[in-house]
Amino acid sequence: MSVGSFTSLFYFDIGAFLFFTMAIAWRKSLFGQVRLLRANAIALFLLGLLSGIYAKDAALIGLSIVILLVRAYGIPTIIARAIPHSGDQWESTRVVNTTASILIVAAITAFAYILTEPLVALNPTKRIASLPVGVSALLIAVFLIVTRRRIATQLIAFALFDNAISACAFVLTEGVPLVVESGALLDVLLLIFVLVALASNMRSQTQSMDIAELRELHE
């Protein structure tokens, strides 16, 4: 694979990664959001695969296959279980409305460019030029955690956050070592397990998953 076509494919893929991240901020259907998370993870997998093929690194390819299995299949499937199969599958109560969310997401991307400018300037390679994309995905995930109320979306945002960290790692280096990556994966998996267990438990008790309405549980 030539440098030119690798960079071009890499850009496209990380662009798709960002697109799916942003689309989660737009979608209201919870199942739609899960599907987008899946697509997002697949883009991440392709990112790893591309880097692996380009660097002829078998470990990296292996790692990306792990990503595919856990992040594109495992985590979204678990999160989907936190969504009530009957009843409210829409995320209609938001702190920030959709149009504003979309514009804020754009502003976050611009902000990520400013934020990473010194880093990119340090080592102006073509691959690192896409670092802002990874960072903006990270910030968007934080934004979603802050402004969304449904537990499922928060879980999705959390998984997104993890994906974004891995994307940054792929951009910055040839990828995180397999051990570190698998450790992080297990953490996230565990956390999501706990949250899903909690969520389904709470749902069976309160019939509702809106954080605002859960305040009474706290009291």
């Binding site: 409305n97 149009t99 504003a100 611009a110 460019y113 400013i114 400018e117 300037a121």
Partner: protein, 665 residues
């Protein structure tokens, strides 16, 4: 003022009778108009000399005994003199017609020539004391223009708000000028730029911010814009044309002269501050304009929008100066100046038409106008051209300036780091502003002039007098001239940018407008020619096929089965802007009251629903009203000291004296 006229028909009657039988004396009006014309003509002449001739300066000790009166001309002052002078000349016939028909307080009428005179002197001032002297004179001369309806509650309030904002701005300007001149006493304004950079940065930044606030309050920069929508409906039409077209631009003159030229190169954040304030003003101004339903309030907010656009251009100019890109800086300045010149012409025209409506109908509320196209053809065409220009569309005069601004933005160099983000953000702002101004102007024109009259008085109106129409026609021609051949002011741009940046901008202005280094160009006349060819073709085809068609019929309109459609069933300005108001409700925060009257206690069957919705200025309520209350609170605390006891006053005086002595020691 307007609403009270509507709700109080008797007052309206008596007002009308007064209008008809007690006009201003003919001799008096002729004298005022001649005086104004003389001032305006000489201002225009000086402006042309100032732009084309080498700088001139002179001084006299006539007025200000200590400092002397220092005057000078350079291309920058010439540009602004040209805007106010030429607009002044074209407004005079309308002024004559307006004064002949409407009764105004004598102070207001006398203030008009003085106002034009002081407006011409402001850009000529060559020392900080002279400048401030003229600035304050201009501000004072403009107050009687706003106070044209002193017997009216809202009129008095408008005067008060205007006076307060003007003086707040003047205070900020005074401090800024003090800082500037303290380090360089006696230096002429034109020479300040070379010296200023040796001052401390904090002091200069303070002076920058204060000058921005001061001049921004005159230019209607958000959040200092609140006087615009209050003052303009009060002032008589020709006066608001002058205030909006010329006086407000002088705020931008102050920003260019002091914030940019006098204070030296400055920091990058200065430029970014200008762009941010410009962007906020442009978007907020046009959003308010799009939801307001009074024609003059709408035009006032649109003035704020245009000043915002000009400020974006000026901010880009400053940014490029700092980045040492003189060519781009010259283009940005050229764009800013073209926006201001065009704004003077089309806003002058729009306010004159609004003045004609005010004088002939007495209503400027769009929800009560309509159908004027059939009864006031000249005014309608005039407003159509003004609206076309104001919406920044091809064949309008504002298009050239906005096009140059867009070109400046899209040709940002790549190598300025994250500052390039200014490009897409500024473009987004300009584009949204342009889109919304199209909607606003379609609303103003479509609701106000098309359709059928929404009130009896609008239906019975006549075209304004020939003298008034003369002004409107003159401004129409000026607008079209600028739109089709902006080459007429090419010399202005060239001299200006040569004197300020030392380079000629790479703009070729003529009937074909292009940026010479790129291949971007527009050619309005050819575009218009294509339209004419197309129109002729369609006309011929229609003529050719007409014989094959049955005769045309007159039929009633579709009303979902209703036979008669009343004027009340038309869309109004309020309903036209309602979707927009809903979309931008987070910014506009419209006031909405819904009252339902139900037959039964369960609210199941509703007898009647009252929906009352009115746009209001959220910044005014959120910022200024709160500020006013806070000030009130502080003032009431101070009142405790004013208990009338002479001993206490003496003691306070002594204390104050002691403090001053200690501090100065």
């Amino acid at each position: 003022m307007i609403s009270s006229q509507i709700t109080n028909p008797k007052a309206v009657e008596s007002d009308q009778i007064k209008k008809r039988f007690d006009p201003m004396g003919r001799f008096f009006v002729i004298m005022i108009c001649t005086l104004s014309a003389l001032v305006a003509i000489s201002a225009t002449t000086i402006a042309l000399l100032a732009i084309t001739r080498p700088p001139w300066h002179g001084s006299t000790n006539l007025f200000l005994a200590i400092y002397g009166l220092k005057l000078a001309t350079d291309p920058l002052s010439g540009v602004f003199l040209l805007i106010s002078g030429s607009l002044g000349v074209m407004v005079i016939p309308h002024l004559y017609g307006y004064l002949r028909r409407n009764h105004l307080p004598t102070t207001t009428v006398i203030a008009i020539p003085i106002f034009i005179f002081t407006m011409a002197l402001v850009p000529l001032a060559n020392s900080t004391p002279t400048f401030f002297f003229f600035w304050e004179l201009m501000a004072l001369a403009s107050v009687p223009l706003v106070a044209a309806h002193p017997n009216d509650q809202s009129g008095r309030r408008a005067t008060f708000v205007y006076l307060a904002m003007t003086q707040l701005g003047a205070m900020a300007i005074l401090v800024a000028l003090a800082i500037i001149s303290a380090s360089h006493p006696g230096t002429p304004l034109a020479g300040l730029s070379a010296l200023s950079s040796r001052d401390s940065n904090t002091l200069r930044s303070l002076a920058f911010l204060l000058a921005l606030i001061g001049f921004g309050s005159k230019a209607g920069i958000v959040p200092f814009h609140i006087w615009l929508p209050k003052a303009h409906p009060q002032a008589p039409g020709p006066a608001s044309a002058l205030m909006s077209g010329a006086m407000v631009s002088l705020g931008i003159y102050g920003i260019i002269r002091f914030c940019i030229l006098s204070l030296g190169t400055g920091a990058k954040w200065w430029a970014i501050t200008l762009i941010v304030f410009g962007s906020i003003t442009a978007i907020y101004g046009i959003l308010q304009a799009s939801v307001n339903k009074d024609l003059k309030v709408l035009l006032a907010y649109s003035t704020a929008e245009n000043m915002g656009l000009a400020l974006i251009a000026i901010g880009l100019f400053q940014l490029f100066r700092i980045l040492h890109l003189p060519n781009l800086a010259a283009e940005a300045l050229g764009a800013g100046v073209l926006i201001l010149v065009a704004h003077g012409l089309f806003k002058g025209l729009a306010f004159l038409v609004a003045g004609s409506i005010q004088s002939e109908i007495g209503i400027t509320d769009l929800d009560q106008l309509g159908g004027l196209a059939k009864i006031m053809p000249v005014s309608t065409v005039g407003f159509g051209i003004a609206a076309l220009s104001a919406s920044g569309l091809p064949f309008g005069s504002a298009f050239i300036g906005e096009w140059l601004l867009l070109q400046t933005i899209i040709h940002l160099p790549r190598d300025i780091g994250s500052l390039v983000l200014i490009g897409p953000i500024a473009l987004g702002v300009v584009a949204l502003t342009a889109g919304l101004s199209v909607l606003t102007m379609v609303k103003a024109f479509g609701i106000g002039f098309l359709g059928t009259p929404r009130s009896k008085r609008a239906g019975e109106a006549h075209e304004s007098s020939t003298t008034m129409s003369t002004s409107i026609i003159a401004l129409m021609i000026a607008n079209l001239g600028l739109a089709f051949d902006p080459g007429v002011i090419n010399f202005v741009i060239l001299h200006l940018s040569e004197s300020i940046s030392g380079v000629y901008p790479r703009i070729a202005l003529g009937s074909r407008i292009s940026i010479t280094t790129t291949s971007s160009a527009i050619f309005p006349s050819i575009g218009a020619a294509l339209f004419i060819v197309g129109a002729i073709a369609i006309y011929l085809i229609r003529r050719f096929t007409a014989s094959k068609r049955p005769q045309p019929l007159d039929e009633i309109r579709w009303g979902c089965g209703a036979k008669e459609l009343t004027p009340k069933m038309q869309y109004t300005a309020t309903s036209f802007a309602e979707p927009l108001e809903r979309i931008f409700s987070d910014i506009l925060v419209p006031r909405r009251d819904i009252e339902t009257d139900a037959f039964d206690s369960l609210d199941l069957i509703v007898k009647r629903i009252d929906l009352r919705e009115s746009p209001h200025d959220a910044i005014e309520t959120a910022l200024w009203n709160r500020l006013a209350r806070a000030l009130d609170l502080v003032a009431s605390q101070f009142r405790r000291f004013h208990n009338g006891s002479l001993i206490r006053y003496l003691m306070l005086g002594g204390l104050g004296f002691a403090v001053v002595m200690v501090v100065t020691h």
